[in-house]
């Protein structure tokens, strides 16, 4: 087994162990009924579990299909068998130091978010003694200081990471899924369908997205789920547009004609043949969008209409720091720093993905 797989398996084992040992802490959150807590607690647990399962399945499959050393006329070729273009790209990605660094930063932030209940030494929402602990500067006890209500700012930042990251990632999943399907249908069927669907996109694009978000947030109850849907459903248009372009050129390729000649229904042609081939730029833009979404969520929360206190999010934390910037600089600085680091990491990740998934080199035999 390769070293990287071992690393990942080790990490997964540690995670499982932590979850098992301190399950009491997580179970308490799991049973919290409020929708905000639902996303912030369950999603952050579901994601690593899903990733772990995927990695495990992949590792098992690789072991099973490991090329046996055989003497044949084409041994050199045979060694490269079963390596999909995406696997080749991921390999190239792993060689990109900056992008891998960004990936590790993101992984670390996610880990902090998941383990927030264990790492935070204070209740993020409890206001104990506002007079004694008000605006304490960073110290050993409170590494990020405290806010005007005397809440431990590090604890809030950890729980805020859950909210900010889950909202952004979920919103991107919503936007990319919807945009990809929408754009594929438009590009594949073409003609009238394409025209009608893309004119709708034009109309939505003509409307300033941020104001649309503001309006929708104003109209609907601003809980986490609503925020995810609002952010997601106002930002799928870009994805839809370029996926349509990709599909338009892909569908002229011979293997799509071949798929049609084999009698595949439209559904299978779109989902099995077109979308997987158009996925490379989607991944890049999804990574870029996560950065944008974190920014958008922070912006809405900063304006006081996104995540409402006492639920912490990096956005409303910065907003709270704005009022106290001259008396307690740490209140705005730390969440702001976390925001910048996260957005920067996602942008670097996107850059790395773009280089790795460059279609000109994607089909290169193998590294």
């Amino acid at each position: 087994m390769r070293r990287r797989t071992l690393h990942l398996l080790g990490l997964a084992a540690v995670m499982v162990a932590v979850l098992a040992l301190r399950w009491d802490v997580f179970r308490e959150q799991w049973s919290t009924p409020a929708p905000d807590a639902w996303i912030a607690t369950r999603f952050v647990l579901i994601v690593p579990l899903a990733c772990g399962l995927l990695i495990l399945r992949d590792a098992i499959r690789r072991r099973r299909s490991a090329p046996s050393p055989d003497a044949g006329g084409e041994t050199a070729r045979a060694e490269g068998h079963g390596r999909s273009p995406y696997r080749v790209a991921m390999r190239r990605f792993a060689e990109n130091g900056l992008a891998m660094g960004a990936l590790y930063v993101i992984a670390a932030l996610c880990l902090l978010a998941i383990l927030a209940p264990l790492l935070a030494s204070f209740d993020p929402t409890a206001i104990e003694d506002p007079v004694a602990t008000r605006h304490l500067p960073p110290s050993v006890g409170h590494p990020f200081g405290t806010d005007e209500y005397g809440r431990d700012w590090l604890s809030r930042a950890l729980y805020g990471a859950r909210v900010s990251l889950s909202v952004a990632i979920l919103a991107v999943i919503v936007a990319v899924t919807f945009g990809t399907i929408y754009g594929s249908v438009a590009g594949y069927f073409g003609g009238f369908v394409d025209n009608a669907l893309m004119r709708i996109v034009d109309v939505i694009m003509a409307f300033p997205t941020f104001f649309l978000m503001l309006m929708l947030v104003g109209v609907f109850e601003a809980n986490l789920l609503a925020l995810v849907l609002i952010l997601g459903l106002t930002s799928w248009t870009g994805t839809a547009r370029f996926i349509r372009g990709e599909i338009l050129s892909l569908k002229e390729r011979e293997f799509i004609e071949a798929a049609r000649a084999m009698g595949l229904p439209h559904r299978l042609i779109i989902f099995r043949h077109l979308i997987p081939n158009a996925l490379a730029p989607v991944l890049v833009s999804a990574a870029l969008m996560v950065g944008g979404m974190i920014g958008a969520e922070a912006g809405l929360s900063f304006l006081g209409i996104g995540i409402r206190p006492p639920t912490p999010s990096w956005g409303n934390m910065v907003s709270q720091g704005r009022e106290a910037i001259f008396v307690a600089w740490w209140v705005a600085l730390f969440p702001g720093l976390l925001l910048s680091i996260t957005i920067l990491s996602f942008n670097l990740l996107a850059d790395g993905l773009r280089d790795a998934l460059d279609p000109k080199t994607l089909m290169r035999k193998y590294v």
Binding site: R77, R253, E257, A259, A261, L264, N277, Y366
Partner: protein, 321 residues
């Protein structure tokens, strides 16, 4: 009769005008028979093939005729039925094997997909069958190759994989559109042998589209000669090769360089070039390039005449010998 194409016409509606790519083509293919469709590039061979499965790309469209497959007109069936025929009863092999395979799926999966769809197999059954089929088309070490991606295979292997996909459902008819054009000469012979073996094993008819007369001579029972969207001459392959009626067929045959011919002897092509399909000459479309043409040829396209047993020819000058 397995397939009968009657008076097929397909037109491309371009900005420059209407391009008639296929014009009144009529032919038949019997069970298990190999029929070759030959002609120069751009004469509408591929469009005939695509028309059979109703796959003529936009802005082209079939504008007339009937395509009777086992007695039913494929132009009048529901999309659902047509989908079952495509891949299930009529398989198709494309010219460029690299481009006809999906680059992001292993070739085994692409066979499974067709088997699951047309033979109702489960994923597990299909996996096994795919490996068997790959072995059947002469791919060595099929368990391992089933997991290979198209860019990991050589041209010949790719074409074998494409043939495996097209024939895994044991179709009644295989349409092979220039199956050997993109391959090395040595590999060409292997692929032709493979097609012939499969055809015998599965009792499958083949419509072979090619511009390589050597391939035709070797494989086809009957030959259709096509030019500017029309059939010029049809008949049994050996008889056409021995004694071509149409001056165009004659020209094609003379243009084939043979290994035995003396060096330094000039190759004899057909003078002129294939006319622009948007500006076809009046009368017989071949008359500007024809040695025998006279005033009559420039006025009206010659009717198709029956010339002896199983042979037809569209030329005023053709005479049965």
């Amino acid at each position: 009769m397995l397939l009968r194409v009657e008076d097929l016409a397909a037109t491309f509606f371009l900005d420059e005008g209407e391009l008639r790519a296929v014009d009144g083509v009529t032919f038949e293919i019997g069970e298990g028979e190999t029929v070759a469709l030959v002609g120069e590039s751009g004469c509408g061979k591929t469009i005939v093939a695509l028309s059979i499965l109703d796959l003529v790309p936009s802005p082209g469209r079939i504008v007339g005729g009937r395509i009777l497959f086992r007695g039913t007109d494929l132009r009048r069936v529901t999309p659902e039925t047509l989908r079952r025929v495509r891949g299930g009863e009529i398989g198709m092999v494309f010219q460029e094997p690299g481009a006809a395979l999906n680059p992001v799926f292993p070739i085994g999966r692409q066979i499974c997909e067709v088997l699951e769809l047309h033979r109702g197999m489960t994923r597990h059954e299909a996996d096994g069958e795919a490996i068997r089929v790959l072995g059947g088309v002469g791919i060595p070490d099929p368990e391992k190759r089933a997991k290979a991606y198209s860019f990991e295979l050589s041209g010949g292997m790719r074409q074998r994989a494409v043939i495996a996909i097209a024939t895994c459902t044991r179709p009644r008819l295989l349409i092979a559109d220039e199956p050997t054009t993109a391959l090395d000469v040595t590999v060409q012979a292997d692929i032709l042998d493979l097609l012939r073996d499969l055809q015998e094993d599965y009792r499958m008819a083949t419509l072979l589209i090619t511009h390589d007369l050597g391939v035709v001579a070797e494989t086809a029972d009957r030959t259709l000669v096509m030019y500017t969207g029309k059939l010029f001459e049809t008949g049994p392959t050996d008889r056409i090769f021995d004694d071509p009626y149409h001056p165009y067929t004659n020209g094609l045959l003379r243009a084939v360089p043979s290994l035995g011919s003396g060096r330094g002897e000039p190759l004899r092509g057909i003078p002129g070039s294939v006319p622009d399909l948007l500006r076809l000459p009046a009368g017989c479309t071949f008359h500007p390039r024809c040695e025998l043409a006279d005033a009559e040829c420039a006025v009206r396209f010659p009717p198709t005449r029956t010339m002896g047993p199983a042979r037809e020819c569209a030329c005023y000058k053709a005479t049965a010998t």
